[in-house]
């Protein structure tokens, strides 16, 4: 390193925390600091989560009665569409990667920032731009196609704001691609000395796998939506059966992205859970290498199974068979992960602060979500379950029970690092338990409804289904409290919370070796890694 380079690094360094570096609008909106960009993302997706959640609340309220009494059926269709669009593309996909990932990836590998900070800021702006398009469409009258945009309904028959929403998702897609690209390059090129691939925390492995999917799947969605939007605008296209086009082609292209997208949502959650469980068991993750390989396997095989969304779509039975078989194979690494987390508790020193409760909740709900996925992968059984509430319950167990539980766990776990304050432990444990109970009460009845045959996207349903819908709506109100509570006490803790030490959990990992909150350049001197990930010392005796 020549002297000029060192000089440039000196000027970059400030010995204060990243939060004290200025509070005017420019210091935030033009920041290149990955930590500040992470905060920007957190604020943005919290707002969007609020919109999506409000739509969910309306849906559950409306479903209390068999006749749609709260809203018209048209409004209901727009509610579930906007719920899906916002929750999938503007909350779940960016949730862990863009917030915790942005904040932690450079710190966990001992880097000063991501490889391309400007690109990182640009992807936040793209995300906001996409979000604004979507919110515009919402205000202008909404969209009623569902988040799946199936042709030819979306291309020919819907009279709602399909084009604006597709544009919003298209733009947000570029945000995903740029974030994924940034993470991959950063993880490849910016690791601190001694940070070999198999010393990386599993959270980094998860981010790496997620980024691969973001980069490889998102362009397919972008172009598919473009085909759909152009077809809608010009009244001609390859999905239109009136000209001999094939509506199933749209489904193939859509699910080529959207099935891997499920792994974009859940793989980061696996990474977060691994960090938390290992820390609060004071044990290394059981079968670390196996876990790393399993994460990569899930990402890779995830691209081969999309057709299991189409078993009754008119896809050929032979194609269905192949996709079913591949789906069973991709579920094996997921199963292994659950067993390995469980085994990590064995002979540990297990404690139960709020993040651990969230992580254990994640394991439970992800297990149920994964197991019910096997029901759906079974060809003969899926005929009964497809497009019913069984599917709704299944993917909420994975994406809300799994991902959102882990997201909240991660927010609590790294809250001291991000803000420099401790959150109130009692309240946090309470809301973790409340979320778990509320979640099960909301979504477990939907499995029963599904096997009974209640279709998705029905504002009106036969009266014999009402009892389970009432259970579900009651659970949803608990769940809502479980989500609103943290918002209140976390904000409270920003001012009144106890000041956090650098490493409140005695956790391993480079991010805990710097101050809370960290300085702008993360580390005053580049750390040198000499030990494996999760090098917790195994306690031989209880008080030793």
């Amino acid at each position: 390193m020549n002297s000029a380079v060192i000089a440039s690094h000196e000027s970059y360094a400030s010995h204060e925390s990243y939060l004290s570096g200025g509070w005017n609008w420019r210091s935030w909106l033009m920041t290149l600091d990955h930590k500040r960009i992470g905060i920007l993302y957190t604020l943005t997706i919290t707002l969007l989560f609020g919109i999506g959640g409000a739509a969910a609340a309306m849906i559950r309220l409306d479903l209390l009665t068999p006749h749609s009494q709260l809203v018209s059926v048209e409004t209901y269709n727009k509610l579930f569409s906007i719920h899906g669009v916002i929750m999938v593309w503007f909350f779940l996909i960016p949730s862990i990667p863009a917030t915790l990932g942005n904040f932690l990836v450079p710190m966990m590998i001992g880097a000063r920032d991501l490889a391309f900070p400007r690109l990182n800021l640009a992807s936040w702006y793209l995300f906001v731009g996409g979000g604004l398009f979507t919110i515009y469409a919402l205000l202008a009258g909404g969209v009623d196609t569902g988040w799946t945009f199936y042709a030819p309904y979306s291309t020919t028959f819907s009279s709602s704001h399909v084009f604006a929403v597709a544009t919003g998702v298209f733009i947000a897609g570029f945000s995903s691609i740029l974030t994924g690209l940034n993470f991959i390059v950063t993880i490849h090129e910016m690791r601190a000395p001694g940070m070999t691939w198999f010393r990386l925390p599993l959270f980094i492995w998860a981010m790496y796998a997620t980024s691969l999917i973001l980069v490889l799947a998102t362009p397919v969605l972008a172009m598919t939506l473009m085909l759909m939007a152009i077809e809608r605008s010009f009244g001609i296209g390859v999905f239109d059966p009136a000209l001999g086009g094939d509506p199933l082609l749209f489904q193939h292209l859509f699910w080529f992205y959207s099935h891997p997208a499920v792994y974009i949502m859940v793989v980061p959650a696996m990474g977060v859970a691994s960090e938390i469980i290992s820390c609060f068991c004071r044990n290394p993750i059981f079968g670390y290498r196996f876990m790393a390989y399993a994460i990569l396997a899930i990402a890779a095989f995830g691209f081969l199974v999309w057709g299991h969304h189409m078993f009754v779509s008119g896809q050929s039975a032979y194609a269905g068979t192949v996709f079913s078989l591949l789906t069973f194979l991709v579920s094996v690494p997921s199963a292994i992960k659950v067993f390995n987390w469980t085994a990590t508790l064995y002979k540990g020193q297990v404690s139960f602060p709020a993040p651990m409760l969230y992580a254990l909740g994640f394991i439970g709900l992800f297990t149920i979500g994964g197991l019910t996925g096997l029901f759906l992968a079974s060809l003969g059984l899926d005929v009964q379950l497809h497009d019913t509430y069984f599917v709704v319950a299944h993917f909420h167990y994975i994406m809300v029970g799994g991902s959102v539980m882990a997201f909240f766990g991660g927010i609590h776990f790294w809250w001291p690092k991000i803000t420099g304050r401790m959150y109130p432990e009692g309240w946090a444990r309470f809301s973790a338990i409340l979320t778990f109970v509320g979640f099960n009460l909301t979504f477990f009845p939907q499995f029963i409804l599904g096997y009974l045959g209640m279709p998705r996207r029905y504002p009106e349903y036969p009266p014999e289904f009402q009892v389970w819908n009432v259970f579900s709506s009651a659970g949803a109100s608990l769940l809502a409290f479980g989500y609103v509570l943290p918002l209140i006490y976390l904000l409270w803790s920003l001012r009144y919370g106890e000041r956090a030490p650098a490493n409140p959990w005695n956790a391993k990992g480079l991010e805990w070796e710097t101050a809370s909150p960290p300085p702008s350049e993360n580390f005053h001197t580049t750390p040198v890694v000499t030990e494996e990930a999760y090098a917790y010392v195994r306690a031989e005796s209880p008080h030793g």
Partner: protein, 320 residues
């Protein structure tokens, strides 16, 4: 809300088989979920921070080896189980999609937001489907607009109904009664109103229902009328001067095509031949048929299909 339902009725021959799969998965996943839950709770209590449980490992290397074996076990066992379940569920699925030869066809046209069904005898119904008990029924379905999906949960059957194409679904109802019929593919504003009922009747009652509604010409007769109106007999008829394939005995047979392929003359083939004649030109013929796209509705097209079927299946029983 007189009783809390846990389980749909079993009103078709498929229902029991699908239920067996469902129960098998319930048991299997119940065991796994319970095992994981018990282990987590047990470890969490036994190895809670500060507990006196023994955490020492006698021999680290030996432990490592043992753990490695455990990992292999819980990788291989799920693979084996999944493969077994895959084979079983695929077997059930193939039964569900393989239409028996003797199935009684009913033609269904879906549109926003109603189900239109037509029996071979010409009986038409909307959002209702009357079928006899203990007899295989095949639904030949298409859509006039968007994708719909016909689902009868108590029969454990479901199939998407696509525009521009025929899909089929079959069942043998085995318990008289009334059952829900849902559209399960989101199809627009009144998606949740696109529901109906399936009425399963004893054979005698079904015959009665048919004869009560049989005051219209049969489907094949309507199809023949349409066939003449559109001038099809000018080429396909016995006195035709233009060389065109004869339709008698065509249905259900393989057709040799000009480009060397061979296709089965099923409902889809006849549909395509009317709408897109240049796609599958039979061997030995020149393409001279115009496309009838835009000149014929889905229901009329199904009547023509039924007419062609009636020409070919002289041996098979006609309208019951």
């Amino acid at each position: 809300m007189d009783s809390v339902p846990f389980f749909p009725d079993r009103a078709s021959t498929m229902a029991g088989q699908v239920d067996n799969l469902y129960f098998a998965w319930l048991v299997l996943s119940g065991v796994v979920a319970l095992a994981v839950a018990v282990l987590i709770v047990w470890f969490a209590i036994r190895y809670r921070q500060g507990s006196a449980a023994d955490r020492s490992l006698a021999d680290a290397a030996e432990h490592e080896k043992k753990m490695h074996r455990i990992e292999i076990v819980w990788t291989v066992v799920p693979i084996a189980l999944f493969l077994a379940m895959f084979v079983w569920s695929a077997e059930v699925y193939y039964q569900n999609v393989t239409v028996p030869k003797d199935a009684m066809p009913i033609y269904v046209v879906a549109k926003q937001w109603m189900w239109h069904a037509e029996h071979r005898g010409g009986e038409r119904e909307i959002n209702e489907l009357h079928v006899p008990v203990d007899r295989p029924v095949e639904l030949v379905m298409t859509s006039q607009d968007v994708i719909h999906s016909l689902s009868i949960p108590d029969f454990r059957v479901k199939q998407d109904v696509l525009p521009g194409r025929y899909t089929t679904l079959w069942f043998t109802a085995n318990r008289p009664g009334e059952y829900h019929l849902f559209c399960t593919q989101y199809c627009g504003a009144s998606h949740s109103h696109m529901v109906g009922r399936v009425v399963v009747m004893e054979p005698a009652a079904f015959e009665g229902w048919l004869s009560a509604h049989a005051n219209v010409p049969t489907m094949a007769a309507r199809g023949e009328q349409r066939y003449r109106e559109l001038g099809c007999n000018g080429c396909h008829g016995a006195q035709a001067t233009v060389r065109a394939p004869r339709l008698e005995g065509l249905f259900g047979r393989p057709v040799q095509l000009r480009d060397g392929r061979s296709v089965l003359a099923d409902e889809r083939f006849i549909r395509d031949a009317v709408l897109l004649p240049s796609q599958d030109v039979p061997a030995g013929y020149e393409l001279s048929m115009p496309s009838f796209r835009g000149q014929i509705g889905e229901e009329e097209l199904l009547e023509i299909v039924e007419y062609v079927k009636s020409l070919g299946n002289a041996t098979q029983e006609r309208v019951p």
